[in-house]
Symmetry: C2
Subunit: 147 residues, 2 copies
Amino acid sequence: MKYNSTLCEALLESHEIKPTANRILVLRTLAEARQPLSLSELECEMLSVDRSSVFRVLTLFREHHLVHVLEDGSDSVRYELCHSTDGHEHDDDQHVHFYCEQCQQTFCITDVPIPTVSLPDGYVLESVNYMAKGLCPRCALRKEKGR
Amino acid sequence: MKYNSTLCEALLESHEIKPTANRILVLRTLAEARQPLSLSELECEMLSVDRSSVFRVLTLFREHHLVHVLEDGSDSVRYELCHSTDGHEHDDDQHVHFYCEQCQQTFCITDVPIPTVSLPDGYVLESVNYMAKGLCPRCALRKEKGR
DNA sequence: CAACCTTTGCAACCCAGTTGCACGAAATCC
DNA sequence: GGATTTCGTGCAACTGGGTTGCAAAGGTTG
């Protein structure tokens, strides 16, 4: 999906975030990435913006349920746009992610929803992080044929 | 389960790890904890052992499939004993974990196995991290009744 | 016992994430 | 419209988990 500035502004405002230049930029970068990005990756993608600003924008987005974080074990969390259709509070598109232990990339398996489990009494569920790990198709193939 | 030194030594040797004082200590601490522990928690639990030594022991254990790591998003990974019955390579007891966003503890839901998903062609699955998040029973209760 | 390898503690380092502060821009108030 | 407050940002410094280099301690082997 192509995100122009106007679209980004609208999205920000629908989440009650005042659209500033930095915020639009971060949102666009996230939206156009096919994979969840880490703070450092975002930083590299937008050299004009300071690391701490990116961080603060992300924190803001998180509070307003515009992005969610996921831990892939590469000891830097990654950020991904929420694609909830109702726009708020709960994500309805929580899907499985795959972390390649070879190339260290994290892939969205968008068409596989996270299977739910029934927890023991008392637990109040908010969200689920489902991270499958192993080899991505490319690395698996490369490994198979010698290297 | 109660772990005495002899039992620990046997377990270490069955994983082809030479039993040293530190290793036995780390193993016992992990075994007797009802919850996965972080590096820092382990360190506090065993003040006599240096941080880096604990780290190296854990790394060794990981390589020998004696422990596995899990990411709960509290930006420090936690370590948990593998309870595989065959003792090697693949865990057969991978279960769901629950991270309480209030008290920041991670609970093992040992009787709930991780549901499997079918990945697109090409992906080679090694392991899965299933982390449910929300409020643990105690925090949920406390929140419900005012505070 | 001497030569060797392994394990350990200490200190230093790395790096992601985070915070304090001060400046500049934007919104608000006479 | 200008003064005042609030908000957003960049810079620099800090934090804390994780990691590594090195040298001393301990154990092993001939």
